[in-house]
C-alpha cells in the first residue's frame, strides 16, 4: 500500500467513578501517497464522514494595510469556483446534501465538511474546486464585502464586541492580534481582487495543513481523498506571523457607551500550551474562573452577590502570544464592586492557592468530563485537528488525564506565583460604570 497507517488503541485512564466514553477509540495516522498526513477515527455506524482541515497562519497573516484580506477571502471561497458561480456552487453542494464551512481565525483558516458516503467522491471534487480554484468573482466580492462591512458597523455599536477589541488594542498595539481579523471599515473598503488572490495563495498552502477525519471512511480512501482535495495547493505559503509583544499594564480603561449594563473584558499575561506547568495553570484557572457554578468567580460575583448573570476566565495560548482573560456584564452601578471582587479573588489565589478538596474535585471533573467530549464524528474530527495544531502526540488522549492527576498543591502555588498578577490585571469597561474611571 502507498499509505501508512499507524494505529493507536486508546484506553482512557480515568478514575473509578467514570467509565471511558470511547474505551477503544482507534486513532490512526494516515499519510497520503502525496505525503499529506491526517488523523482518522473510522466509525462506520452512520454513513457519512466529518472532515476538519486547518491551515496555520489565519488572519494574522494580513499585511497592516490589508487587514481583513484573509477573512474576506475565506468568506468568498464558497461563492463560486471553477465553472460554477455562487448560485451554481450552492446548488451543486445542496444537490449532494453536503455541508461545507470556512472560517478565518486569528491563527488559522479552517475548513469543515460533512458528506454522505453515497456521493463522497462528488462532494470531495466540489470541495476541491472551492479550495483550489475559487473564482473570487467581482460581483461576489462586492456582495460579501458588503456583508463584512455590515458586521463591522454592528460591532462598533456592540459592547460585547467593543470590549475585547479595546483590550486587544491595548495589549498588542500594531501586531495583527491588536485589531479585528475582520479588518476595519477603511481597510476592507480598500481591498482589491488582487489582495484576495494574494491572501488565498498565502494562507492555503501544503506546508501548514492539519487534517482529521471521523466517520465512514477507510484509511486507504482517506489517503486518496487527501491528495485529491489538497494535493494541488502551492507547496509553501506566506511567512508565518511574528511573535506579538504584550504591552499590557494593570488598571482600568473605560470606553463610554450609553447602555444600562457594561461589558467588562479583563486579563493579563498567560502561559504557553507547551509550558511544563500548563496543566497546573489550567487547574488553577478552572478553580478560579472556569465556567462552572462551583468556580470561585461564579460563586463570589454571581451566586453570592447577584452582580452578573455569568462570569468566567480562561487561558488563551495563541500561536504568537499568551493571555489569561475573562469577561462579564453587569449593571453600571455594580461594575465597581465586581471588579473589586475579581481583584480580591486573584490576590487570594496568589496568596493561598487551592485547598486539597478543591484540587481533588477539579481533577475529578476534568478527568471525568474529558472522555465525554468524544461524542460524535463531528466533535471527534474537530478535537483531533486541534491536538495536531497544538503539537500534541497521537497518544495524547491516553496520557492527558494522567498529567492532570499528577498536579500537586505545590505545583499550583508555584505556577500561581509565576502567573497571577492581581496588580497587573487590566479591565476594559464598555458602558457607563458608576465610580469607575480610566487609570494609566
Amino acid at each position: 500500500m502507498m499509505f501508512r497507517a499507524l494505529a493507536f488503541l486508546l484506553a482512557f485512564a480515568v478514575p473509578a467513578m467514570t467509565r471511558p466514553a470511547l474505551a477503544q477509540m482507534n486513532i490512526q495516522e494516515v499519510t497520503s501517497p502525496g505525503g499529506i498526513t491526517a488523523w482518522l477515527v473510522q466509525e462506520p455506524g452512520i454513513p457519512f464522514t466529518a472532515l476538519e482541515i486547518q491551515f496555520k497562519g489565519g488572519t494574522a497573516l494580513d499585511a497592516p494595510a490589508k487587514r481583513g484580506a484573509v477573512n474576506l477571502m475565506t468568506a468568498l471561497i464558497e461563492e463560486g469556483a471553477a465553472d460554477l458561480d455562487a448560485q451554481g456552487f450552492a446548488n451543486a453542494r445542496d444537490d449532494l446534501a453536503a455541508t461545507f464551512g470556512f472560517t478565518a481565525g486569528g491563527d488559522s483558516v479552517g475548513v469543515s465538511a460533512r458528506f454522505l458516503t453515497e456521493n463522497r467522491d462528488q462532494a470531495v471534487a466540489l470541495l476541491r474546486q472551492a479550495i483550489i480554484t475559487p473564482r473570487f468573482d467581482p460581483d461576489a466580492l462586492e456582495r460579501v464585502r458588503g456583508q463584512v462591512l455590515s458586521g463591522l458597523r454592528a460591532d462598533a455599536k456592540d459592547p460585547d464586541a467593543l470590549a475585547p477589541l479595546a483590550f486587544n488594542a491595548l495589549a498588542f498595539g500594531d501586531h495583527p492580534y491588536g485589531s479585528s481579523g475582520d479588518g476595519t471599515i477603511a481597510s476592507v473598503t480598500a481591498l482589491t481582487r488582487d489582495d484576495i488572490l494574494a491572501a488565498h495563495k498565502g494562507a492555503l498552502a501544503r506546508d501548514r495543513i492539519y487534517v482529521a477525519a471521523a466517520g465512514d471512511i477507510s484509511a486507504a480512501d482517506l489517503g486518496t481523498l487527501l491528495d485529491t482535495l489538497l494535493g494541488d495547493l502551492p507547496a509553501t505559503g506566506a511567512p508565518l506571523p511574528r511573535r506579538a509583544a504584550l504591552n499590557l499594564t494593570g488598571g482600568v480603561t473605560v470606553q463610554d457607551f450609553p447602555t444600562p449594563q457594561s461589558t467588562v473584558f479583563f486579563g493579563q499575561q498567560g502561559i504557553t500550551r507547551d509550558d511544563p506547568e500548563f496543566f497546573a495553570a489550567y487547574i488553577l484557572n478552572e478553580v478560579l474562573g472556569g465556567g462552572r457554578f462551583t468556580a470561585r468567580l461564579m460563586t463570589e460575583v454571581r451566586e453570592k452577590r447577584g452582580l452578573t448573570y455569568g462570569i468566567g476566565s480562561y487561558l488563551l495560548p495563541m500561536d504568537q502570544a499568551e493571555l489569561m482573560v475573562g469577561q462579564f456584564s453587569a449593571s453600571n452601578d455594580k461594575v465597581a464592586e465586581a471588579i473589586d471582587v475579581i481583584r480580591a479573588e486573584w490576590a487570594k489565589m496568589l496568596a493561598d492557592g487551592l485547598t486539597a478538596q478543591e484540587l481533588a474535585a477539579t481533577k475529578t471533573f476534568l478527568t471525568g468530563s474529558y472522555p465525554l467530549r468524544f461524542d460524535g464524528n463531528g466533535p471527534i474530527a474537530s478535537i483531533l485537528v486541534g491536538m495536531q495544531m497544538e503539537g500534541l502526540p497521537i497518544d495524547y488522549a491516553t496520557t492527558r488525564n494522567a498529567q492532570i492527576e499528577a498536579v500537586t498543591l505545590d505545583d499550583i502555588k508555584r505556577v500561581a506565583a509565576r502567573l497571577l498578577q492581581p496588580e497587573g490585571l487590566r479591565f476594559v469597561v464598555v458602558g457607563q460604570p458608576v465610580g469607575v474611571t480610566t487609570t494609566p
Binding site: D95, T294, L372
Partner: protein
C-alpha cells in the same frame, strides 16, 4: 462562557427547523403508573448519557401579572432540597465529570445532565429528589432575582433587536399568552417572591406533568428499572388542568412598530405572520410551512429572497424566512431583511413584498423544491451523530403535545409536501391582517 442560559430566544437568523430523524429502531417509550412519560434513545458509540427532564409548563402557563415565574423557578431549582445544600446539585454533577443546565420556553421548562452512563442512577436520584423536595432559603431567592434582572439586562435590555422582538410579540399575540416574554417584564420580575415560586412549583412539578428523556449508552430496560426506582414512588399532582389557553380572535388589521435606538448600526425590518402550529396526527400544514420557509429564505445564497434581493438586485445584505411550529398554540412565520446601505426600510419592505407577491403568482422553482427535499433526507443521517440534539427534539415535541410517532413521522410529512400544498399554505398565512411589521432604526437627529 455563560451557563444556565435560561431562555430559548427566537433567533432572527435561525434557519427553519427542517427535519427530525427516523430512528424507530433505537427509540422506545414507556409510561409509569404515576403518569411520568419516558423516551429512551439508544446510542452505544460512546458511554455518555444525557438525562433530560421536561415539565409541561412554561411562561405561557403563568398567571397574568406574574410574568417570569417559570424561568425564575428554573433558576431556583438549583438552590437545594431537604438533602442537598444550595449549589450542591451542580457540584455533585461536576464531581463525576458531568455537566448540567436548564432552560425555559413558552411551553416547557427542562433540566438536563450529561454524564458517563454509570452515573445515571445518581442523576435520576437527584432529579427525582428536586421534583418534590425543593427548599428555598429567602436570602438565596432575593440574590437570584438580582441575577435574573442582570440576565434580562444582558439578553434583552442591552439589545435593541431583542427589545423590538419583544414589542412585536406583544402586538402579534392579542389574546394568547405568547405575547408575554419568557423572562418576564422587568417590573413584574422585580416583585416575584419566594411564595410565587413555591406555588408554581407545587402546582406543576409532578411526575404526571413530566417527560423523562434518556439518550446515550443505555438500554430501555435499564432506564425503566431506574425510573421505577427513583421517579416511581413520587405522587402525582391532582392540581393539573388541561392546557387550554385563551385563543387569538380574528386578527383584522396589520400592526406596525418602529423602535428607534441609538445603539442600532444596521437598521432592519422584520415581519411575523400568525401561523398554525404542528398538531399531533396532522402535521401536513406545518410541514408545508417549513418547506415554504426553506424555499423563501432558508439559504443565504439560493433561497428566493436571497436571490432576488441579494443577487438579482442589490437591495439587501441579508434576507431570511423562518418558521417553527413546535408550540401548543399559534406559531409565527417570519421574515428578516437587512437593507444595503442607501436602501431605506420602506424600499426594502416594498422589494420584499414584491418578491412575495411574485412567488404567490408564480410558485417555486421545482428544481429548488427537489433540492430541499434531498437535504431533508440527508439531515436524517447527519442528525444521528448528535444524540443530545435528538433528545431535545423528542422532549420538546412531547412537551407541546406531539407524540413519538409524530416526531418519527415528521420527515415523511416533509417528504409528502407538494408544490400545491406549499402554495395553499402560503396563501393562507401570508395575509397582512395577521401580521406585525417591525422596523429597527437609528433615532432621527435630535435638535441640539
Amino acid at each position: 462562557m455563560l451557563r444556565r442560559l435560561g431562555l430559548i430566544c427566537a433567533v432572527l437568523s435561525a434557519p427553519p427547523a427542517l427535519a427530525n430523524t427516523t430512528l424507530a429502531d433505537t427509540v422506545t417509550e414507556f409510561t409509569l403508573p404515576n403518569g411520568l412519560q419516558a423516551v429512551v434513545i439508544e446510542d452505544h458509540r460512546s458511554s455518555a448519557v444525557t438525562q433530560m427532564l421536561w415539565y409541561r409548563v412554561g411562561s405561557a402557563d403563568e398567571d397574568r401579572g406574574n410574568s417570569g415565574i417559570a424561568h425564575f423557578l428554573e433558576h431556583l431549582m438549583f438552590k437545594g432540597t431537604d438533602t442537598l445544600a444550595p449549589g450542591e446539585f451542580s457540584a455533585t454533577v461536576e464531581a463525576v465529570g458531568g455537566t448540567d443546565n436548564a432552560f425555559t420556553s413558552y411551553d416547557y421548562t427542562a433540566y438536563f445532565q450529561r454524564v458517563s452512563a454509570d452515573n445515571l442512577p445518581l442523576m435520576m436520584q437527584m432529579e427525582s429528589d428536586r421534583m418534590r423536595n425543593l427548599k428555598l432559603p429567602e436570602a438565596d431567592v432575593l440574590t437570584e432575582r438580582d441575577v435574573i434582572l442582570e440576565e434580562r439586562n444582558q439578553r434583552t435590555d442591552s439589545s435593541p433587536g431583542a427589545l423590538l422582538s419583544e414589542q412585536m410579540r406583544a402586538a402579534q399575540f392579542m389574546n394568547t399568552p405568547y405575547g408575554t416574554p419568557i423572562i418576564g417584564w422587568r417590573h413584574e420580575i422585580a416583585q416575584l417572591s419566594r411564595q410565587d415560586a413555591l406555588d408554581h412549583y407545587s402546582r406543576y412539578y409532578a411526575p404526571n406533568n413530566a417527560i423523562l428523556v434518556v439518550a446515550g449508552d443505555v438500554t430501555p430496560d435499564q432506564v425503566k428499572a431506574l425510573a421505577e426506582k427513583y421517579y416511581g414512588p413520587l405522587a402525582p399532582s391532582d392540581g393539573l388542568k388541561p392546557r387550554i389557553r385563551p385563543q387569538e380572535p380574528a386578527q383584522l388589521a396589520e400592526r406596525r412598530i418602529t423602535l428607534a435606538d441609538a445603539r442600532v448600526s444596521e437598521p432592519y425590518l422584520t415581519r411575523t405572520y400568525l401561523a398554525p402550529e404542528r398538531n399531533s396526527g396532522d402535521q401536513s400544514k406545518a410541514a408545508a410551512l417549513s418547506m415554504l420557509a426553506a424555499l423563501l429564505g432558508g439559504s443565504n445564497t439560493t433561497s428566493v429572497l436571497a436571490r432576488k434581493l441579494q443577487f438579482d438586485s442589490q437591495t439587501a445584505t441579508y434576507a431570511s424566512a423562518y418558521y417553527d411550529g413546535g408550540s401548543i398554540d399559534d406559531a409565527t412565520f417570519g421574515f428578516v431583511i437587512v437593507p444595503q446601505p442607501g436602501v431605506s426600510l420602506a424600499e426594502a419592505e416594498a422589494a420584499m413584498d414584491k418578491v412575495l407577491a411574485d412567488f404567490l403568482a408564480d410558485g417555486p422553482d421545482p428544481a429548488a423544491f427537489d433540492r430541499i427535499k434531498r437535504q431533508i433526507r440527508a439531515s436524517t443521517i447527519y442528525e444521528r451523530d448528535n444524540t443530545d440534539g435528538l433528545a431535545r427534539d423528542y422532549g420538546e415535541a412531547l412537551a407541546v403535545g406531539l407524540t413519538v410517532a409524530d416526531v418519527q413521522g415528521w420527515p415523511d410529512a416533509l417528504a409528502a409536501v407538494t408544490i400545491p400544498d406549499v402554495m395553499a399554505a402560503a396563501r393562507e398565512v401570508l395575509n397582512r391582517n395577521n401580521a406585525v411589521t417591525g422596523w429597527l432604526t437609528k433615532p432621527e437627529k435630535a435638535a441640539p
